[in-house]
């Protein structure tokens, strides 16, 4: 698989999207949305921004399957780290309760 050269136009578009996302997250952060919506909005914007950086700036979109698998492994183990550790803290009070 030979190297893919991403056109500058794509970089500019991603850059503008990232700046817009930053503006949006600051705007949304100052507003009071019902329930946990503030956190959900902030994390959704952050995830979209991170995805854009990974796919285009870091060229994952144009990388080999092997790189995709390695990146997926990171997310998988991160999910384990959060899920298993949190299940411990989450249920500790159940015994005392």
């Amino acid at each position: 698989m030979s190297e893919h050269i991403v056109p500058v136009r794509v970089y500019v578009l991603i850059f503008l999207a990232l700046i817009a996302g930053t503006g949006l997250t600051v705007w949304a952060g100052k507003r009071d949305f019902p329930g946990p919506l503030n956190v959900i909005i902030a994390l959704t914007i952050a995830c979209i921004k991170a995805t854009l950086v990974v796919l285009f700036f870091m060229h994952l979109r144009y990388s080999s399957r092997l790189v995709w698998v390695i990146f997926a492994a990171a997310l998988f183990w991160l999910a384990i780290l959060f899920a298993l550790t949190f299940s411990d803290y989450w249920t500790r009070n159940w015994l005392i309760g």
Binding site: I14, V26, K30, R31, K49, I70
Partner: protein, 238 residues
Amino acid sequence: MAESIAAEHEVHHPALQHHFENLEQQREAGTLGMWVFLVTEIMFFGGMFFAYTLYRWQYPLEFASASNHLDLPLGTINTIVLIVSSFTMALAVYSAQIGKRRNLLACLVLTIALGVTFLGIKAVEYHQKYVDNLIPGKLIRGHYFNPNGVHLLVGADKNKVEMFYWIYFAMTGMHAVHMIIGVGLLSVILLFAARGRYGPEYHNPVEISGLYWHFVDIIWIFLFPLLYLLGRHFVHGG
């Protein structure tokens, strides 16, 4: 026989290491190695993101109070500085790919300058925390941690505010260390680029340094809303 080996060596790119078949394989191996390293970095920062999640879950009001005390304008400017630096880094890789050496050098210099700007603004913020006695623990004589300057939301416990600052300094501190390493890395790349080492055929060091730089940017993309924006709506909204 000897002549044919010599001829074969002549067509080799000088950057091709002997244990690789060709430059393409060498490039793939280098990129893969950096991605594996970044996986370990994700797990490393993941532990701290977990600590943040846990204590935010346990002390929501204290975290919101302390978060409101952070300097949002400086944090926003720093976010934009890092995004611009990621953009210039991407352009640096592009310039190397199409063999525009002067553009490559300019983009690398810009990226380094923006990285240093980020660290400078971060230093200003840290100094504010020092003046406000918000460095956690009793690290500095005369500036022991004291949350009296933090405006507490109703129901927040003054004694739990310090945890936010432990996590804030641990996470932004480790991020800053990564920025410093990144600036060092790019300075070496800049030096080699100035000597004309990179071109369309060989530029993998530029590319994988870029991967690292973008990764550090991604960490900040998450740190910024989690640390600076959390709980702003308690104060400004409604």
